[in-house]
Symmetry: C2
Amino acid sequence: MATSLISRQLAFSLQKNVWLSASGCRYVSKAAAKTQVEFDYDGPSMTTTVPGPRSQELMKQLGQIQNTGAINFFCNYEESKGNYLVDVDGNRMLDIYTQISSIPIGYNHPALLKVMTNPNNLSTFVNRPALGILPPENFPDKITESLLSVAPSGMTRVQTMSCGACSNENAYKAIFIWYRNKERGPNTPTNEELNTSMINQAPGCPELSILSFMGGFHGRTLGCLATTHSKAIHKLDIPSFDWPVAPFPRLQYPLDEFTRENAEEEARCLEEVEDLIVKWRQKGKPVAGIVIEPIQAEGGDNHASPDFFQRLRNIARKHGCAFHVDEVQTGGGGTGKFWAHEHWGMDDPADVVSFSKKLLSGGYYHKDELQADKPYRIFNTWMGDPSKNLFLSEVLNVIRRENLLEEVTRSGKALLNGLYELQAQYPSILSRARGQGTFCAIDACDDATRDRIMLKARDKGVLLGGCGDRTIRFRPALVFKEYHVNLFLNIFNDVLAQHK
Amino acid sequence: MATSLISRQLAFSLQKNVWLSASGCRYVSKAAAKTQVEFDYDGPSMTTTVPGPRSQELMKQLGQIQNTGAINFFCNYEESKGNYLVDVDGNRMLDIYTQISSIPIGYNHPALLKVMTNPNNLSTFVNRPALGILPPENFPDKITESLLSVAPSGMTRVQTMSCGACSNENAYKAIFIWYRNKERGPNTPTNEELNTSMINQAPGCPELSILSFMGGFHGRTLGCLATTHSKAIHKLDIPSFDWPVAPFPRLQYPLDEFTRENAEEEARCLEEVEDLIVKWRQKGKPVAGIVIEPIQAEGGDNHASPDFFQRLRNIARKHGCAFHVDEVQTGGGGTGKFWAHEHWGMDDPADVVSFSKKLLSGGYYHKDELQADKPYRIFNTWMGDPSKNLFLSEVLNVIRRENLLEEVTRSGKALLNGLYELQAQYPSILSRARGQGTFCAIDACDDATRDRIMLKARDKGVLLGGCGDRTIRFRPALVFKEYHVNLFLNIFNDVLAQHK
């Protein structure tokens, strides 16, 4: 099927992109394409501007049901393959955003289609269990061969959840329970605690806090949202908790050219973290946990050094706060390691690591002592979805079999080097290229320019995502090869050359 | 396949249950079984006590990974059919709890298996979209033929979410946004609002509240948990909001025998609701919304009259609060109507209706004016899961084709009448039988007795759930026929007769 699709659509191929490139084809290399051919197209193919007429029609239809303000276009997922997303107007785009970074190995990967056609798997899809009370026989094995096979250092326990927000919400709950149990020691909860908890009052519902960072993003449910500080529109009008917000380092890029300045900035932020912990303890709202992303994603792809994270982890330990690393967007291989925190080189990187997106369902790993002491304290009806774990097992097999983390490292280097070249070539438009693996970003001079460039790139067959105020973020699938990097750089170069 | 399974396991059949029944077979009627035969077994079949040895072995294995304190036993979902859940030790139980009320038409229903084997559906399972930005072509149609075809009165808009908690969290957000926009009128948010929102402070994050009811359950994430008041252990140690909690009527059953007393109790609660609304407004934490279940489920299956809900709805209207009906557990047909609030007979029952469980994914319907004014205010990566909507379409087809709501009404009457008889026969053990459709409950004399009865019933092949302090709740699938009611009543009668 994939082969016939490819031959049907061969007309618009790499050649078109070479033609599109204003400054010639210096990035194009066909050799690397070969391994992809089975389930990938060989280039974008555009027939309309985007959104095209069919997308606009559907937008009107959906507008009767939902707010469609965020919708880019409607998709033909059947025809999408590998790194290419096909829309309902027949446009085929190189997808470097991958459903907000949630498609691990491309569209319609044969290994995942096989999961669907295996009759042994039918029942897992059709009978969604209440995992917390009636798990299927293969649940311990499936979780061991999928999630636990990639568990962060020092962690042998994992709790699945349905999505990223629920993962962080429940991780925070586990932190609060752990913190209060530490304080309580061998004592059982008092009647006063039990009674006041029923009406949302202290001491049963204590005034504990989670320290988060300006620019951080951890989800949009009320608990998560109290630790999210990416954009005002996400938070406006929603009641919140008086929890401390520390500055996240604003580093200068490339990192290795500003070592001294960046170290000073990181020291400033760490000092503020300790001050806030002390201040909130004095306020009677002690910090039970610190939550942070290894790379702030929604907030604008902000990096910090391994040294910063090591020191922060030590501060957490010193003050008795749990250290929660949110890998919802960074986890799953995009940085060239399965977890971005592996770049820190620590044996004991965290107490809690949450995930979702590329892992296909949500959840969090945790240290033994972070497991709730009683049943039903961390609980809901579904507690995840075993059908998503079936897919994850296959994703992990493909990652291992095809050495995709090495591929990501290789493609990532090519991508970052290309971005360096482009910002050198267009210094009035682009700056601050940065990244780890293919988890890269570059800033435009302002938000209007950023948006215009992204729309132009889309009309030329490249789908990108924005983040922060004026950042373009790159979030390709793990099957994004050097060949695709070159395709992208050609098109992007062309967009920039035409940009007024 | 289903047929061969049935013949393989015919050995333990209805006859066994007749034998089990101490007081004879007065409830047994074979005729009603016929329509079920295609995908249902014809009786429980027990080979070990539950959990059996294989379950216990798996419990140890999973105990290395998670807290297993809530786990009943491990299941063989492949062999489970219709109303029967099969465990890993070969025990086959009549399931009257259905994964905490989340299995709408039984296990391995042929209509759902067909969804899986239709090649046109493959891509929907394999490519999970970010629905808020890149929906599939068929999304408006699928949502129209599934969720909107059963939309509550007066609602044409629905927002899907992944689970029940996320549904309520986002419904609350929609309520807060609506409430502040009403207050704001034609003005845009001030800079002070935008800036303070980023650090969780008023006026950007205003001190608004949601009024909920003692005994209510709306989920366990931090926002939901502030409106949940079922058990202290669910809330202990988790920071919360200072939101008002009203008393839910404690009615006497059967309802029609205590009309006057119950009306007084409901009036008392409604008065308290109005007092709380005034009090919280004076506190500077105005009530933006009222959230309530049509029947309090986790809190102990507490009912209130249509009159109570009508008056409450009017109070909400009078004070400018949104009226949010949480149908996560009651929705989907178990009460004999698709939504429990349909029993109130109102044209304008609610501003928001949330759902999950039997609807297979979460979400909420809402009035037009409750739609967020801007994109990304109600948003997350997945915003639901179209593969669950595929199943839901089929579930709705089966409900219509097989008149399952009528069946539920019929089975429900038989069930409730049976419970009345049993509480008359065993007044020292059972009381307060109540229900709507098959959404029934009965109280034991104390929690230890309740738990012991449930375990004994399980060992005899009937799986039940508890709620509240000492309540047994009945949550069968919609394919639970009078035949199954009689099977259950026989076994339950036997348990009670043997109970010391």
